[in-house]
Point group: C2
Chain length 325, copies 2
């Protein structure tokens, strides 16, 4: 009998959950996977079932008993916690819903693990939003930079991280944490910044023009975009090799301004793009520059990982996927 990795994935139906399954598929990982989510996946799961055991279970993780039953019955060796209400904008509109759907679902998860499967390894995925207001002198941000969360979403993520440390230190649970920077890549929803730009620039192209104007927010801001496929590879390796109780930035270590991203998309589509700043799209509290330092992750994974997919490649692949679709 094969020795299967028993992996519980929360938030399996989301963008990162989908790519995590794809990673297992591409790398022919011998796994038995339980994927849970508040809704069933919109993507086709049949192909994954040909390569590894995959069960899906629809549940609201706010219901503690359901999470407990899932953990008790499945007995995971690894848990990757991707479930999250991850929109900062939503957290401003509905702070309480956002907060409990981040912090309380995590609390229900670690409680279930503490009681039913305490030796299992957990990857608690956090966010670069935890750094909050970024001082330029701290760039690129190391894991020791100060934490000043500035949205309900960011507070929830910091709470999750503090709880991870408390459970790890005091119940000897095996929890590895991340602070993950902006992801992008194929299948990302058009509400996110890069697919949003792509959509609008494709509209210009589709209308038969070779140049056009798009309305934007502040496109001088600089972000550290990492391809989701590099992200899920890091997550898989952290599940295996991360140091218990430690936090790792997941990022490229390089920043790019949004106007450069727009020009890159324009080049790929052979469209000349001009931009028009619309004050309605400006987010008043956005940091000018957010770039992470990934040295700790690189050191820990000792040559097994580095960001491999350039932003240009991400964009090309996103365009290709949109065409296919």
């Amino acid at each position: 009998m094969k020795n299967l990795m028993r992996i519980l994935i929360t938030g399996v139906s989301g963008f990162v959950g989908h790519h995590f399954l794809q990673f297992l598929y591409n790398n022919r990982i011998d796994a038995s996977v339980l994927g849970i989510d508040i809704r069933l996946p919109m993507y086709d799961v049949k192909k994954y079932k040909t390569r590894f055991e995959l069960q899906l279970c629809q549940m609201d993780m706010l219901v503690q008993s359901e999470v407990a039953v899932a953990v008790e019955n499945f007995q995971p060796e690894y848990v990757i916690h991707l479930a999250s209400y991850s929109s900062v904008a939503y957290s401003w509109q509905y702070p309480e819903i956002s907060f409990i759907n981040n912090t309380n679902i995590f609390l229900n998860l670690v409680t279930a693990i503490r009681i039913h499967q305490p030796k299992c390894r957990v990857l608690s995925v956090g966010s670069s939003e935890e750094y909050g207001v970024v001082g330029e002198k701290d760039l690129p941000l190391t894991e020791n930079a100060s934490i000043e969360p500035n949205s309900p979403y960011a507070v929830a993520r910091v709470s999750q991280e503090m709880l991870s440390k408390v459970y790890s230190n005091n119940y000897n649970m095996d929890i590895v944490m991340t602070r993950s920077f902006n992801h992008t890549g194929p299948w990302q929803d058009e509400r996110f910044v890069i697919p949003g730009f792509i959509k609008r620039i494709k509209q210009i192209k589709n209308s038969g023009k070779c140049s056009g104007i798009i309305e934007t927010g502040n496109i001088n801001i600089v972000r550290d975009f990492i391809d989701v496929r590099d992200v899920v590879k890091a997550y898989f390796l952290l599940l295996k090799y991360g140091m218990s109780g430690e936090i790792y930035n997941v990022c490229t270590g390089k920043g790019i301004a949004l106007y450069e991203v727009i020009q890159m998309i324009g080049l790929c589509l052979n469209v000349q793009v001009k931009t028009n700043e619309n004050p309605a799209y400006i987010r008043p509290r956005d940091n000018a520059i957010v770039i992470g330092n990934n040295r700790k992750l690189l050191n820990r994974l000792e040559g097994k990982w580095q960001p491999e997919i350039s932003l240009k490649k991400s964009i090309e692949d996103m365009l290709y996927c949109m065409k296919e679709k």
Copy 2:
């Protein structure tokens, strides 16, 4: 018509809530008070009703709609948030219950205020537990000391504080925060350390002996005990004069070892007390010394406040109250 201060007190039935009402009574504050709590007070409220308007309302603050109705109907100008599951030990036994009964009740409260009474001033009471693991070089702890919460209770308190800052910065809410150190004083429950010592030393005296042995945990630890009457005075003044968005330590600035407290109680009762350390009572993660710096509070309240009640006076008053009872 008199200009009444409209004050909403959460956790009115607790130790600090009781003293806050007593403060309003003693100082003949013209107030209209709504006190909410999950259970009705065990103390007699009649005398308070002779001096100020007092309504009581039993509710579970985890039910958002009930909190919202209370805030909407009462329209407080001031809210003092004392409701809390404040036992660290309990938070180890039932981390999830402790967490939601701190963080989520606060979230329900600030949401209700944000929607129904956004201009009202809120005092968000926090705890010295937020400092977590204390380095001796940081003593006495200022508000800038590092925050390393080390229990589920402490994480909940830090989350409450981070949420306070986010709501204060981003919704322009008027929130003042405290980190309050160990309180003691009349009416405190015997599960707490000083009333617990008093109870056992009184038992020696009541049995007719003038000396005896009590079992203790580590009595070399040093804490900053502040009389609850000094605490509620600080809270009242912070409601009036605190700087919005700021955090204030509420403490004496002085530390005392538990063995000194025991000797002090022995002297008051004229009992010679010996102690026997029982490993079952030792808390493995206790800080050796916790002392706060109260300079920021003193400066802000400019001569209107300083700790006035010595620990000896607290103990004498506790003994007097126990006799009366």
